[in-house]
Amino acid sequence: MEELVKKRIKQVLKGDQNAFGEIVEIYKDKVFHVCFRMLGNRQEAEDISQDAFIRAYINIHTFDIDRKFSTWLYRIATNLCIDRIRKKKPDYYLDAEVTGTEGLTMYSQIPVDERLPEEEVESMELQDTIQKEISKLPDKYRSVIVLKYIEELSLKEISEILDLPLGTVKTRIHRGREALRKQLRTV
Protein backbone atom coordinates (compact mmCIF):
# COMPACT_ATOMS: atom_id res chain seq x y z
CA MET A 1 0.00 0.00 0.00
CA GLU A 2 2.67 2.48 1.08
CA GLU A 3 4.73 1.54 -1.99
CA LEU A 4 1.87 2.32 -4.34
CA VAL A 5 1.27 5.60 -2.52
CA LYS A 6 4.93 6.55 -2.84
CA LYS A 7 4.83 5.87 -6.55
CA ARG A 8 1.80 8.13 -6.84
CA ILE A 9 3.50 10.86 -4.79
CA LYS A 10 6.44 10.84 -7.19
CA GLN A 11 3.98 11.30 -10.05
CA VAL A 12 2.30 14.17 -8.22
CA LEU A 13 5.70 15.79 -7.73
CA LYS A 14 6.18 15.63 -11.49
CA GLY A 15 2.94 17.57 -11.91
CA ASP A 16 0.47 14.72 -12.43
CA GLN A 17 -2.69 15.85 -10.63
CA ASN A 18 -4.60 12.67 -11.47
CA ALA A 19 -2.15 10.64 -9.42
CA PHE A 20 -3.20 12.72 -6.43
CA GLY A 21 -6.80 11.69 -7.07
CA GLU A 22 -5.78 8.09 -6.44
CA ILE A 23 -4.16 9.07 -3.15
CA VAL A 24 -7.39 10.82 -2.11
CA GLU A 25 -9.37 7.68 -2.99
CA ILE A 26 -7.11 5.53 -0.81
CA TYR A 27 -7.25 7.72 2.30
CA LYS A 28 -10.53 9.64 2.07
CA ASP A 29 -12.54 7.35 4.39
CA LYS A 30 -9.88 7.24 7.10
CA VAL A 31 -9.26 10.98 7.05
CA PHE A 32 -12.97 11.76 6.96
CA HIS A 33 -13.63 9.39 9.83
CA VAL A 34 -10.93 10.93 12.03
CA CYS A 35 -12.27 14.40 11.27
CA PHE A 36 -15.84 13.31 11.96
CA ARG A 37 -14.94 11.83 15.34
CA MET A 38 -12.88 14.89 16.19
CA LEU A 39 -15.51 17.43 15.13
CA GLY A 40 -18.75 15.50 15.62
CA ASN A 41 -20.32 17.05 12.55
CA ARG A 42 -20.49 15.67 9.03
CA GLN A 43 -20.38 18.95 7.16
CA GLU A 44 -17.44 20.26 9.14
CA ALA A 45 -15.70 16.91 8.82
CA GLU A 46 -16.10 17.05 5.04
CA ASP A 47 -14.76 20.61 4.83
CA ILE A 48 -11.80 19.94 7.06
CA SER A 49 -10.86 16.61 5.49
CA GLN A 50 -10.98 18.18 2.03
CA ASP A 51 -8.81 21.02 3.30
CA ALA A 52 -6.39 18.44 4.68
CA PHE A 53 -6.00 16.82 1.24
CA ILE A 54 -5.57 20.17 -0.45
CA ARG A 55 -2.89 21.13 2.06
CA ALA A 56 -1.19 17.82 1.52
CA TYR A 57 -1.18 18.49 -2.23
CA ILE A 58 0.21 22.00 -1.88
CA ASN A 59 2.92 20.88 0.55
CA ILE A 60 3.67 17.51 -1.05
CA HIS A 61 7.24 18.62 -1.81
CA THR A 62 7.89 18.91 1.95
CA PHE A 63 6.87 15.27 2.54
CA ASP A 64 9.83 13.03 3.31
CA ILE A 65 9.33 10.08 0.94
CA ASP A 66 11.12 7.73 3.36
CA ARG A 67 8.44 8.21 5.98
CA LYS A 68 4.91 6.90 6.26
CA PHE A 69 2.51 8.98 4.21
CA SER A 70 -0.54 8.22 6.35
CA THR A 71 1.25 9.59 9.44
CA TRP A 72 1.97 12.83 7.61
CA LEU A 73 -1.59 13.05 6.29
CA TYR A 74 -3.14 12.36 9.72
CA ARG A 75 -0.94 15.05 11.16
CA ILE A 76 -2.28 17.64 8.72
CA ALA A 77 -5.86 16.51 9.36
CA THR A 78 -5.63 16.46 13.17
CA ASN A 79 -3.94 19.87 13.23
CA LEU A 80 -6.74 21.31 11.11
CA CYS A 81 -9.35 19.71 13.39
CA ILE A 82 -7.67 21.06 16.52
CA ASP A 83 -7.54 24.55 14.96
CA ARG A 84 -11.23 24.30 14.16
CA ILE A 85 -12.13 23.09 17.66
CA ARG A 86 -10.16 25.93 19.25
CA LYS A 87 -11.90 28.51 17.12
CA LYS A 88 -15.28 27.24 18.29
CA LYS A 89 -14.23 26.98 21.92
CA PRO A 90 -15.97 29.13 24.50
CA ASP A 91 -13.99 31.42 26.77
CA TYR A 92 -13.94 29.09 29.73
CA TYR A 93 -11.80 26.01 29.51
CA LEU A 94 -13.31 22.82 30.82
CA ASP A 95 -10.03 21.02 30.41
CA ALA A 96 -8.12 23.47 32.58
CA GLU A 97 -6.74 21.39 35.37
CA VAL A 98 -7.94 22.32 38.81
CA THR A 99 -4.93 23.03 41.00
CA GLY A 100 -4.04 20.28 43.38
CA THR A 101 -6.08 17.64 41.60
CA GLU A 102 -3.64 15.85 39.40
CA GLY A 103 -5.32 14.59 36.25
CA LEU A 104 -8.71 15.92 37.20
CA THR A 105 -10.42 18.62 35.20
CA MET A 106 -13.54 20.70 35.45
CA TYR A 107 -15.33 17.82 33.78
CA SER A 108 -14.95 15.69 36.84
CA GLN A 109 -16.54 18.45 38.91
CA ILE A 110 -19.68 18.72 36.85
CA PRO A 111 -22.32 16.35 38.21
CA VAL A 112 -23.14 13.67 35.70
CA ASP A 113 -26.90 14.20 35.91
CA GLU A 114 -26.66 17.88 35.12
CA ARG A 115 -24.58 17.25 32.05
CA LEU A 116 -26.83 14.69 30.43
CA PRO A 117 -30.37 14.16 31.75
CA GLU A 118 -31.51 10.57 31.95
CA GLU A 119 -34.38 11.01 29.48
CA GLU A 120 -32.09 12.56 26.93
CA VAL A 121 -29.75 9.60 27.11
CA GLU A 122 -32.62 7.21 26.57
CA SER A 123 -33.97 9.10 23.59
CA MET A 124 -30.63 9.19 21.85
CA GLU A 125 -28.98 6.52 19.86
CA LEU A 126 -26.01 5.02 21.64
CA GLN A 127 -23.72 6.01 18.78
CA ASP A 128 -24.77 9.61 19.03
CA THR A 129 -24.21 9.55 22.75
CA ILE A 130 -20.72 8.23 22.40
CA GLN A 131 -19.90 10.73 19.69
CA LYS A 132 -21.29 13.51 21.82
CA GLU A 133 -19.14 12.46 24.74
CA ILE A 134 -16.06 12.24 22.56
CA SER A 135 -16.83 15.74 21.31
CA LYS A 136 -16.92 16.98 24.89
CA LEU A 137 -13.36 15.92 25.50
CA PRO A 138 -10.78 18.70 25.46
CA ASP A 139 -9.06 18.65 22.06
CA LYS A 140 -5.75 17.37 23.41
CA TYR A 141 -7.42 14.28 24.86
CA ARG A 142 -9.88 13.90 22.00
CA SER A 143 -7.15 13.63 19.37
CA VAL A 144 -5.27 10.86 21.18
CA ILE A 145 -8.46 8.90 21.97
CA VAL A 146 -9.66 9.12 18.36
CA LEU A 147 -6.31 8.06 16.95
CA LYS A 148 -5.87 5.25 19.46
CA TYR A 149 -9.35 3.75 19.69
CA ILE A 150 -10.99 4.70 16.43
CA GLU A 151 -8.05 4.56 14.05
CA GLU A 152 -6.32 1.93 16.20
CA LEU A 153 -2.90 3.45 15.75
CA SER A 154 0.11 2.63 17.89
CA LEU A 155 1.26 5.00 20.62
CA LYS A 156 4.46 5.57 18.67
CA GLU A 157 2.59 6.56 15.54
CA ILE A 158 0.30 8.86 17.53
CA SER A 159 3.35 10.56 19.00
CA GLU A 160 4.66 11.13 15.45
CA ILE A 161 1.33 12.41 14.18
CA LEU A 162 0.87 14.84 17.04
CA ASP A 163 4.57 15.64 17.29
CA LEU A 164 4.51 14.91 21.01
CA PRO A 165 6.84 12.83 23.19
CA LEU A 166 5.64 9.28 23.79
CA GLY A 167 5.26 10.02 27.52
CA THR A 168 2.91 12.93 26.82
CA VAL A 169 0.81 10.77 24.51
CA LYS A 170 0.47 8.13 27.24
CA THR A 171 -0.50 10.70 29.87
CA ARG A 172 -3.10 12.18 27.55
CA ILE A 173 -4.55 8.78 26.73
CA HIS A 174 -4.80 7.98 30.46
CA ARG A 175 -6.52 11.28 31.20
CA GLY A 176 -8.71 11.03 28.15
CA ARG A 177 -9.83 7.56 29.20
CA GLU A 178 -10.55 8.81 32.72
CA ALA A 179 -12.58 11.75 31.43
CA LEU A 180 -14.55 9.49 29.09
CA ARG A 181 -15.07 6.92 31.82
CA LYS A 182 -16.76 9.54 33.97
CA GLN A 183 -18.86 10.73 31.06
CA LEU A 184 -19.88 7.31 29.84
CA ARG A 185 -20.41 5.35 33.03
CA THR A 186 -24.15 6.08 33.07
CA VAL A 187 -24.60 4.74 29.54
Binding site: E46, Y57, I58, Y149, K170
Partner: protein, 211 residues
Protein backbone atom coordinates in the same frame (compact mmCIF):
# COMPACT_ATOMS: atom_id res chain seq x y z
CA UNK B 1 -15.35 4.05 46.89
CA UNK B 2 -14.74 5.05 50.50
CA UNK B 3 -11.55 3.08 50.85
CA UNK B 4 -8.38 4.89 49.79
CA UNK B 5 -6.49 2.76 47.35
CA UNK B 6 -2.89 3.29 46.37
CA UNK B 7 -2.70 5.87 43.55
CA UNK B 8 -0.55 3.53 41.57
CA UNK B 9 -3.50 1.15 41.06
CA UNK B 10 -5.21 3.51 38.61
CA UNK B 11 -1.84 4.05 36.95
CA UNK B 12 -1.46 0.26 36.67
CA UNK B 13 -4.90 0.02 35.08
CA UNK B 14 -3.91 2.43 32.35
CA UNK B 15 -0.59 0.77 31.75
CA UNK B 16 -2.43 -2.53 31.54
CA UNK B 17 -4.83 -1.08 28.96
CA UNK B 18 -1.82 0.16 26.98
CA UNK B 19 -0.38 -3.36 27.22
CA UNK B 20 2.64 -1.99 28.98
CA UNK B 21 2.22 -3.30 32.52
CA UNK B 22 4.92 -5.78 33.54
CA UNK B 23 3.75 -9.24 34.64
CA UNK B 24 4.60 -8.66 38.30
CA UNK B 25 2.51 -5.49 38.57
CA UNK B 26 -0.29 -7.10 36.60
CA UNK B 27 -0.57 -9.80 39.25
CA UNK B 28 -0.55 -7.10 41.93
CA UNK B 29 -3.34 -5.22 40.14
CA UNK B 30 -5.46 -8.35 39.72
CA UNK B 31 -5.11 -9.27 43.35
CA UNK B 32 -6.07 -5.76 44.40
CA UNK B 33 -9.10 -5.68 42.11
CA UNK B 34 -10.38 -8.90 43.62
CA UNK B 35 -10.33 -7.32 47.05
CA UNK B 36 -11.35 -3.75 46.29
CA UNK B 37 -14.80 -3.07 44.88
CA UNK B 38 -14.12 0.57 44.04
CA UNK B 39 -11.14 -0.35 41.91
CA UNK B 40 -13.06 -3.21 40.35
CA UNK B 41 -15.79 -0.79 39.26
CA UNK B 42 -13.22 1.71 38.09
CA UNK B 43 -11.44 -0.88 35.98
CA UNK B 44 -14.72 -2.19 34.60
CA UNK B 45 -15.80 1.34 33.65
CA UNK B 46 -12.53 1.96 31.83
CA UNK B 47 -12.89 -1.23 29.81
CA UNK B 48 -16.52 -0.42 29.09
CA UNK B 49 -15.52 3.05 27.92
CA UNK B 50 -13.01 1.63 25.48
CA UNK B 51 -15.56 -0.88 24.22
CA UNK B 52 -18.11 1.88 23.70
CA UNK B 53 -15.66 4.10 21.83
CA UNK B 54 -14.58 1.19 19.66
CA UNK B 55 -18.19 0.25 18.98
CA UNK B 56 -18.72 3.40 16.96
CA UNK B 57 -19.18 2.33 13.39
CA UNK B 58 -16.82 3.35 10.68
CA UNK B 59 -18.34 5.94 8.45
CA UNK B 60 -17.29 6.60 4.89
CA UNK B 61 -16.51 9.86 3.20
CA UNK B 62 -19.47 11.39 1.35
CA UNK B 63 -19.88 10.63 -2.34
CA UNK B 64 -18.06 12.97 -4.71
CA UNK B 65 -15.49 13.62 -2.01
CA UNK B 66 -12.54 13.02 -4.34
CA UNK B 67 -14.12 15.13 -7.09
CA UNK B 68 -14.56 17.89 -4.53
CA UNK B 69 -10.90 17.78 -3.58
CA UNK B 70 -9.70 17.63 -7.17
CA UNK B 71 -11.81 20.59 -8.22
CA UNK B 72 -10.33 22.65 -5.41
CA UNK B 73 -6.69 21.87 -6.18
CA UNK B 74 -4.77 24.94 -7.24
CA UNK B 75 -4.30 25.05 -11.00
CA UNK B 76 -1.48 27.61 -10.81
CA UNK B 77 0.85 24.96 -9.53
CA UNK B 78 1.07 23.39 -12.97
CA UNK B 79 1.58 26.75 -14.65
CA UNK B 80 4.40 27.55 -12.28
CA UNK B 81 6.02 24.24 -13.19
CA UNK B 82 5.89 25.13 -16.86
CA UNK B 83 7.26 28.58 -16.15
CA UNK B 84 10.15 27.07 -14.21
CA UNK B 85 10.88 24.75 -17.10
CA UNK B 86 10.93 27.68 -19.48
CA UNK B 87 13.21 29.66 -17.21
CA UNK B 88 15.70 26.86 -17.59
CA UNK B 89 15.24 26.90 -21.37
CA UNK B 90 14.98 30.60 -22.26
CA UNK B 91 15.40 30.17 -26.00
CA UNK B 92 12.54 27.66 -26.27
CA UNK B 93 10.44 29.91 -24.13
CA UNK B 94 11.18 32.88 -26.39
CA UNK B 95 10.26 30.92 -29.49
CA UNK B 96 7.17 29.34 -27.92
CA UNK B 97 5.82 32.57 -26.52
CA UNK B 98 6.58 34.33 -29.76
CA UNK B 99 4.77 31.82 -31.91
CA UNK B 100 1.83 31.65 -29.55
CA UNK B 101 1.30 35.33 -28.99
CA UNK B 102 2.65 36.92 -32.14
CA UNK B 103 2.53 34.24 -34.82
CA UNK B 104 -1.20 34.33 -35.30
CA UNK B 105 -1.52 38.06 -35.43
CA UNK B 106 1.49 38.47 -37.71
CA UNK B 107 0.15 36.01 -40.24
CA UNK B 108 -3.15 37.82 -40.10
CA UNK B 109 -1.40 41.11 -40.71
CA UNK B 110 0.45 39.50 -43.60
CA UNK B 111 -2.80 38.51 -45.23
CA UNK B 112 -4.56 41.74 -44.47
CA UNK B 113 -1.67 44.12 -45.14
CA UNK B 114 -2.08 44.17 -48.88
CA UNK B 115 -2.10 47.97 -49.17
CA UNK B 116 0.78 49.73 -50.77
CA UNK B 117 2.86 51.48 -48.11
CA UNK B 118 6.31 53.01 -47.83
CA UNK B 119 8.48 55.08 -45.55
CA UNK B 120 7.71 58.70 -46.19
CA UNK B 121 11.14 60.03 -47.07
CA UNK B 122 10.97 63.65 -48.33
CA UNK B 123 12.70 63.24 -51.69
CA UNK B 124 11.15 60.09 -53.14
CA UNK B 125 8.73 60.07 -56.04
CA UNK B 126 5.80 57.69 -56.30
CA UNK B 127 4.45 56.44 -59.62
CA UNK B 128 1.51 54.11 -59.20
CA UNK B 129 2.82 51.27 -57.01
CA UNK B 130 6.45 52.14 -57.52
CA UNK B 131 8.62 54.20 -55.23
CA UNK B 132 11.38 55.99 -57.09
CA UNK B 133 14.53 57.48 -55.68
CA UNK B 134 15.26 59.93 -58.50
CA UNK B 135 18.68 60.31 -59.99
CA UNK B 136 20.81 62.77 -58.07
CA UNK B 137 18.65 62.52 -54.93
CA UNK B 138 20.06 61.19 -51.67
CA UNK B 139 17.68 59.53 -49.24
CA UNK B 140 19.29 59.65 -45.84
CA UNK B 141 17.65 57.07 -43.62
CA UNK B 142 16.01 53.63 -43.92
CA UNK B 143 13.43 52.93 -46.56
CA UNK B 144 10.65 50.35 -46.36
CA UNK B 145 8.30 49.56 -49.21
CA UNK B 146 5.41 47.21 -48.77
CA UNK B 147 3.32 45.78 -51.63
CA UNK B 148 5.07 47.89 -54.18
CA UNK B 149 8.27 48.16 -56.24
CA UNK B 150 11.31 50.28 -55.64
CA UNK B 151 13.47 51.86 -58.28
CA UNK B 152 16.71 53.34 -57.13
CA UNK B 153 18.27 55.83 -59.51
CA UNK B 154 19.82 57.97 -56.81
CA UNK B 155 21.33 56.98 -53.53
CA UNK B 156 19.87 55.51 -50.31
CA UNK B 157 22.08 56.08 -47.31
CA UNK B 158 20.46 53.47 -45.10
CA UNK B 159 18.82 50.04 -45.07
CA UNK B 160 16.20 49.07 -47.61
CA UNK B 161 13.41 46.63 -46.87
CA UNK B 162 11.15 45.43 -49.65
CA UNK B 163 8.08 43.44 -48.81
CA UNK B 164 6.21 41.80 -51.65
CA UNK B 165 7.80 43.87 -54.32
CA UNK B 166 10.59 44.17 -56.87
CA UNK B 167 13.75 46.22 -56.68
CA UNK B 168 15.18 47.88 -59.72
CA UNK B 169 18.59 49.40 -59.55
CA UNK B 170 19.63 51.99 -62.13
CA UNK B 171 23.26 52.13 -63.16
CA UNK B 172 23.95 55.11 -60.97
CA UNK B 173 21.74 53.94 -58.09
CA UNK B 174 23.30 52.80 -54.84
CA UNK B 175 22.24 51.62 -51.41
CA UNK B 176 24.74 51.96 -48.62
CA UNK B 177 22.91 49.86 -46.00
CA UNK B 178 21.50 46.31 -45.94
CA UNK B 179 18.89 45.17 -48.42
CA UNK B 180 16.10 42.91 -47.29
CA UNK B 181 13.64 41.52 -49.78
CA UNK B 182 10.72 39.69 -48.35
CA UNK B 183 8.12 38.04 -50.50
CA UNK B 184 6.77 35.09 -48.57
CA UNK B 185 4.72 34.80 -45.48
CA UNK B 186 7.36 32.79 -43.72
CA UNK B 187 10.03 35.32 -44.51
CA UNK B 188 7.79 38.06 -43.22
CA UNK B 189 7.40 36.10 -40.01
CA UNK B 190 11.11 35.61 -39.71
CA UNK B 191 11.78 39.25 -40.38
CA UNK B 192 9.25 40.27 -37.74
CA UNK B 193 10.82 37.83 -35.30
CA UNK B 194 14.28 39.24 -35.84
CA UNK B 195 13.13 42.79 -35.40
CA UNK B 196 10.99 41.88 -32.39
CA UNK B 197 13.69 39.93 -30.60
CA UNK B 198 15.38 43.07 -29.41
CA UNK B 199 12.18 43.96 -27.55
CA UNK B 200 11.67 40.39 -26.36
CA UNK B 201 14.21 40.53 -23.59
CA UNK B 202 12.46 43.53 -22.14
CA UNK B 203 9.07 41.89 -22.66
CA UNK B 204 10.04 38.77 -20.74
CA UNK B 205 11.81 40.68 -18.04
CA UNK B 206 8.56 42.52 -17.48
CA UNK B 207 6.59 39.30 -17.48
CA UNK B 208 8.75 37.65 -14.86
CA UNK B 209 8.62 40.55 -12.48
CA UNK B 210 4.83 40.38 -12.63
CA UNK B 211 4.77 36.79 -11.40
Amino acid sequence: MMKTCPDKMVQYMHEYLDEELPQEQETELKLHIQQCEACRIHFHELKKTIALVQSTSHISAPSNFTEGVMSRLPKEKKKIGIQRWFQRHPLIMAAAVFFLLMGGSLLTSWNNGSEFAFTAQPNVVVEGQTVIVPEGEIVSGDLLVRNGDLRVEGEVQGDVTLINGQRYMAGAGSITGDIDEIDQAFEWLWYSMKSSFKNMGQFFGLNESEE
